[in-house]
């Protein structure tokens, strides 16, 4: 290689490496802050040097304080309760959406019926409605339906979305019609065709969809913070946002909670990152 080219390549990698360090530094800092004793929080930038590494400087005190429990009007609420709430809401929403969005998407891709065109246009238009416009009226509706402060009220409006339905419609278009017809000739019910013929074929798409939906629900703040009131019902983003005000002088505690809150999405992402990134960009790049 020519020296000029070598220099250029070196420069390119240094820029990329610098950007990566800038991205990773806050993560490293978060991990260090969560495990440092509160007396040593500001002593070292990241972790203490090996010579000063001991249970006095680095320990689990922050996590102990976090899991000690909050006393509320309805008794003590422990941190694992918020974790459970978040896990429950994110998992339920994801699975329910997977079923209903794929069903609706399959119907739009493989059936000809009266009113389909109008329905498709309505669906595409409805994706352009900004969610914020609907917050106030949906809240009013929730009050009327007595769904405020319930998990049902949070899950119900998102059991099927236009976005998910559209994604599955696109994926189902690729399923060959002959297969579906063969299923019908063999006497399969429509439900059976959808579950055992179509669903397995759109599996890659389903993986990406589940990841995106799980992440969005896990990190959701606006909905849970408006609709949930009882402390034992709160999710991780809502309670950790409150902890900033509670633990003003020991931020190690809410940083420990934040660290725990980003672990599940990280595990999911590293396990499924190929599907995730390709699922994310497929709509934009092909379209």
């Amino acid at each position: 290689m020519k020296p000029a080219k070598l220099l250029l390549g070196g420069l390119r990698y240094s820029v990329l490496a610098a950007a990566s360090v800038a991205v990773l530094a806050p993560f490293a800092w978060l991990v260090a802050a969560a495990f440092k004793d509160k007396a040593y929080l500001n002593e070292y930038l990241f972790f203490p040097p090996l010579s000063e590494l001991s249970a006095k400087t680095v320990n689990l005190d922050n996590f102990r304080a976090l899991f000690a429990g909050d006393s509320t009007v309805n008794g003590t609420v422990y941190f694992w309760q918020y974790v459970l709430n978040s896990v429950f809401l994110a998992t339920t929403t994801t699975l329910v959406q997977l079923v209903f969005c794929s069903a609706a998407g399959y119907a739009l891709a493989k059936f000809e019926f009266r009113g389909k065109r109008a329905l498709m246009s309505f669906m595409l238009l409805s994706m352009m409605i900004p969610g914020v416009l609907l917050f106030a009226p949906v809240y009013e509706l929730m009050v009327t339906l007595h769904l405020v402060d319930t998990f049902t009220g949070l899950v119900l409006p998102s059991i099927a979305t236009a976005y998910g339905t559209f994604l599955f419609r696109q994926a189902c278009l690729a399923v060959p019609n002959e297969m579906i017809d063969a299923g019908r000739v063999d006497g399969c019910s429509e439900l059976r065709i959808y579950l055992s013929l179509v669903m397995p074929l759109v599996r890659p798409m389903s993986g990406a969809f589940c990841l995106v939906t799980f992440l969005a629900t896990w990190n959701a703040f606006f909905g849970p913070s408006v609709f949930l009131h009882t402390q034992s019902q709160l999710t991780l983003p809502v309670i950790l946002n409150r902890y900033i005000g509670v633990y003003t002088n020991q931020y190690g505690v809410f940083l420990a909670g934040t660290l725990l809150a980003i672990v599940p999405p990280a595990i999911l992402f590293f396990a499924l990152q190929k599907e995730f990134i390709s699922g994310l960009t497929s709509g934009a790049v092909k379209g």
Binding site: L16, L24, P26, A104, V132
Partner: protein, 299 residues
């Protein structure tokens, strides 16, 4: 229409669609209509309401705090398009020309902040901006000798820069993924032909590469502007002592204003009015951008 369509006889498609249809009717269409009505009422919580005509919009137009929120949000949107996206594009190009081994690693690292919800990012950065001890203050001080004691989140002039900087950490990698995917689809032979014809790197990028990934660029710009106008959670967690407003409302966003009006004050009518203003801005931005790309398509 030359052949009559064969309609499926049976309830199967409607049964498959039923959950989506019911939920859309109840939680999208009905609220949309009710938002149109609600904007003309003043409410005190969901229970009591009084018709006020256009007063909600009149109030917004005369409220300096709302203008402040609009200005902050617009600044954020401009920074997203003109600072964040060029950085994303630059990194995507560096990654695209590299050998494949390290590419996946860099891509993974640069994308990773997107796993972290906006609230968690806000919580983390509210501590990183701590004077004297925060990572950002220390880093800036080590690099430039300035800024160790800087109160980023307490200084009205520095609140927006702090929000923009935090957003860069998250979204540069996100948009980079889209640009990278688009760059991989650009026809290499076109670029080579231009190089042979004597075009320099910048000319090739501007006249060949960028036009051939136009659709993705437009998509990313639109989603960035729309996302910017929905900014809310990041400043809320970043500025906890002032409920996301910052000193002198220097960090207040339009959605922050909506949240306060609708859910803290309890005026869902005013909240709906703000919602319509945001919806209008978003539709305008989308229409403008679609028009712009339509124009480039003809040349």
């Amino acid at each position: 229409m030359n052949t009559p369509k064969q309609y499926y006889r049976g309830a199967a498609p409607w049964l498959l669609l039923a959950p989506y249809l019911v939920v859309t009717l109840v939680f999208t269409l009905y609220p949309l209509l009710s938002a149109a009505v609600l904007a003309f009422y003043q409410t005190n919580g969901p229970a009591s309401r009084a018709f006020v005509g256009l007063d909600n919009f009149g109030f917004l137009l005369s409220d300096p705090v709302f203008y402040r929120a609009l200005r902050n949000t617009s600044i954020f949107a401009l920074c997203s398009v003109f600072v964040q996206l060029p950085l994303s594009m630059g990194l995507a190009m560096l990654l695209n020309s590299g050998s494949s081994g390290w590419k996946g690693v860099f891509r993974l690292i640069l994308f990773s902040p997107n796993l972290v919800g906006q609230i968690f990012v806000g919580i983390l950065f509210s501590v990183l901006f701590t004077p004297r001890y925060g990572l950002i203050n220390r880093f800036l001080h080590a690099l430039t000798g300035w800024g160790l004691e800087q109160q980023w989140l307490g200084d009205p002039a520095l609140v927006m820069p702090a929000i923009v900087l935090t957003a860069l950490w998250v979204y540069v990698g996100f948009n980079m993924i889209f640009f990278l995917a688009a760059l991989q689809g650009v026809d290499k032979s076109l670029e080579e032909a231009a190089r042979i014809d004597g075009a320099n790197r910048l000319q090739v990028f501007w006249n060949v590469t960028l036009p051939s990934m136009r659709h993705v660029v437009v998509f990313v710009v639109i989603t960035s502007v729309i996302g910017s106008f929905q900014l809310f959670e990041l400043p809320l967690a970043l500025l906890p002592t002032s409920n996301g407003r910052g000193p002198d409302n220097s960090g207040l966003t339009v959605i922050g204003y909506l949240y306060d009006a609708a859910f803290n004050v309890g005026d869902l009518g005013l909240g709906s009015a703000v919602g319509w203003v945001v919806a209008f801005v978003i539709l305008l931005a989308s229409a403008l951008q679609l028009r712009l790309t339509g124009a480039t398509e003809e040349t």
